[in-house]
Every structure is written in C-alpha cells, then in structure tokens.
Symmetry: C2
Subunit: 237 residues, 2 copies
C-alpha cells in the first residue's frame, strides 16, 4: 500500500472522503493547486488521480469553476466488468451455487470458433441462488489446456468461478462481451428455477477474454426475469 504510486494513494484517499461524506455529493472538492499542497505532489500527479476518478464516475468537472462529486446514484453502478457473485452481493443478497455438472466435453463447431480452441473443454453447469431462491442456470465452457494446474473439481471450492480462475489458476478476465436476449423457459429450466414453463428468462451469453485477448470462457446464463434485473451505466464519449 505504501509503495503504491502516489496517484493511486491519492485516488484511494479522495474515494474514501467521498464514501465517508467528507466530500458530499454535488459539492466541489479542493482545487488542483490546493490538492498539490495537501498531498505535496506536482499538478500532473493530482490531475492523474482526478482523471481516473472522473473515468470511474466519481467526479465531474465544471469548466472554469471546479471539480464536483458526482451524485451517488451515478457512482453506485460502475460500468466495470463485474461477476455475478459480485452483482448479487452488491444487491445485498447472499449468493450461492449448486453444482449441476463438471465434465470434459468435445467442443461444438460454434464453441471451437468462439473459444479459438480445437481441443477438449471443461463444462461447468451450476444453479445459482441468492438467499436460497434459485436465480439462474449458468453453464460455462473453458479450454482444458488452461486448467491443467488443478483438478476441475477445484471449482467446487468457491462460489465465484472468476475467483477460482484468478486465485487458483492465475487467470484474469480483462474483457467480456455480453449479449442480452430473452426466451421462454423450457420444462427442465422451469423445474430447476422453480417457475412455470413459458415464463420469461433473461438470457446472457458471455465470452470472456484475458489480458492477451485470448478467449478463456464462454458462458450462457438463464436468469429468472421476475427475480433479477441487470443494470448497466454507460457514458457518452
């Protein structure tokens, strides 16, 4: 923490002051030259920190006037990539998962193309719950060459698949492409999710990429529309 770059430390400090209300919503934070004095750094470093906080949606600049704290409504939903475990935790729910299957499977032509990998895949199917209510059926496919370090059963040890990838396999998801659609539940989906056949499901297909732009996961998620809504905040360029 103490060895982190100065601008990171400044970001953390300002973020903390926003969160604790020392810099309330819609008020101006100290000017850049004041921040230079506070943190004893150059203006470039102050501006670097402010620039990232603007990018993250915490601050906004009014030309010729000053730098203002964004209304918290717009702070709380960052446009960052987020895992479903995190999403549910953010909504104050206790996420869990029941493993339906962990198997080695052959890739279909579509999956081969999407994952750019001709070999075997690991299929992980899970029923996700929040506060013990079934929320979604989540089926992931991962190239097996990425997962040689441990037995696939390691995915039983944690609720978040992305946490297993990061902590046990050192694989970090950098980019996702999410496609939203809607379908009617079929009989088996309805049974698993405790709803009726024909009820609406939000369907999300996600392809995840690592830092080197290699596809590392394709997943298809069926979410109960009555229990779950997915919100995303976007900013114009």
């Amino acid at each position: 923490m103490l060895n982190d770059p100065l601008y990171i430390q400044i970001i953390r400090d300002i973020q903390g002051k926003i969160d604790t209300g020392q810099y309330p919503s819609d008020t101006f934070i100290p000017s850049e030259s004041e921040l230079q004095d506070i943190y004893m750094v150059s203006r470039t470093t102050v501006r670097r920190a402010i620039s990232e906080l603007i990018n993250a949606g915490y601050l906004t600049i009014v030309k010729g006037v000053g730098t203002k704290v964004m209304p918290s409504r717009l702070i709380t939903t960052p446009k960052e990539l987020i895992s479903f475990t995190q999403l549910m935790r953010n909504q104050g729910m206790r996420p869990d998962a029941r493993m339906l299957a962990i198997e080695r499977v052959k890739a279909t032509p579509d999956l081969q193309k999407t994952l750019e990998y001709p070999g075997e895949l690991i299929e992980i199917a899970r029923l996700r719950t929040a506060d013990d209510t079934p929320i979604s059926i989540n089926t992931s496919y991962l190239p097996s060459d990425l997962l040689v370090k441990h037995d696939p059963t390691i995915f039983r040890t944690r609720v978040s698949l992305y946490e297993v990838l990061e902590k046990d396999f050192n694989i970090k998801v950098a980019v996702t492409e999410d496609t939203y659609s809607a379908i009617n539940a079929n009989a088996s989906q309805a049974k698993l999710l405790s709803i009726r056949k024909g009820d609406p499901l939000l369907m999300i297909e996600r392809t995840a990429f690592n830092q080197k732009n290699r596809p590392i996961e394709y997943s298809i998620i069926f979410l109960r529309a009555d229990r779950y809504r997915h919100t995303i905040t976007l900013r114009a360029n």
Copy 2:
C-alpha cells in the same frame, strides 16, 4: 480541426492508421520516443493520446515490450453509450420508426421520482422497425420544460430521438442507466410486433441524464427477442 489539441490530432492520426491497416491488428505501433519524433511533441502528449486510445479499446500495452493494436473484434464493439438508431445501423439494418403517439401526460409518482420533475411530461411512443420488420416498441417520457423551444411534433422529423434532442434542442445525453429484463408479450404488444402473445420480449428501461446529471428521459423498450440481441463489451478496472 487544426486548432484541436495536439493529443486529439495524434489520436485521430493513430486511429486512422489502425483503421486503414497501416498499424495492423496485434502488431506493435512505434515506441513512445519514436512517436515523439514523428509528431514533434513531448512524451507527456504522446502518452496522453495513447492513454485515451487504450481507454477506447484500440490499443493495449505489453509491459517492457511495447504498445500493440487490439484485435479488431474487440474494437468494433465500443462500450460507449449508443442510440438504438446507431445500434441498428451498425448491424447493417435500415432503421425507421412509426409514430404511435405524441402526447402531453401527467407524471405518475414513479415517473416524477425518476425524472425529478413534478410537471407535465411529453410521451413519445414509437414502433421501431429495421428493414421494415417491427423490432421494438419504444415509449419515452421527457420533462416538458426541456422542450419549449419547438412543438413536440418536431420528433416526427427525424428517426433518432437523440438526434432531435441534440440538434434541435441542444440537449446532449451524457450518461444512461439501462436495466435489462425479460417478459412475455401481451396481446397488444404481440399485435404491434407481429408475434404471438406470450412470445419472449427483451425489456430495457433506460434513464438518460445530461452533462449536469439532470434526468432528461425515461424510456421503456420492448424488443422482439427473436430479431434482436444486444451486445455490450466491458473492461475490468
């Protein structure tokens, strides 16, 4: 253009070289010191330009090695805010809209709260089509005090509501909050969209804000799930 800041001109130039293939996908662009010589600017200015291109998804940095052009797959789906007109054009379709209603309405309590406006609203309901196939029913509510400059019928003159707001009212959308859900079509929705009652619809509720964080539009959109998929690319922080 010539009076634009240097870093903007550099961004445009590099973007152009990526688009025309002079800097092909997955190859390294010149190093920062080479770019200093090319553009005759300081390293700070070069880095400013590169930083924004990384943010926009065009470039990626490999530590200690160089700066690489992102694969075009990941460039083509920017995470920017985008209008539905643009979205359909991007998919190679010809978007159009049939006006269903332009009316002054009283705000429901929910709408009053969402739009933070107690007065009358302008309701604009439209059937959106792509290549003459009905795609979505789009109902927007806007505070009437924003629209005094012209008669509301001006919304008939353009296909894109956001274009009318920007060009005729000088109102720019800066941030949107989109919530995704799914429902089954009711009888009237099914009729308008040429589908059957009970067929799945993707529902998107959007609240749009201007640069000053004032809510300027609430819209609810019902999309035919069989004809339309909505893709978003997200990056980790």
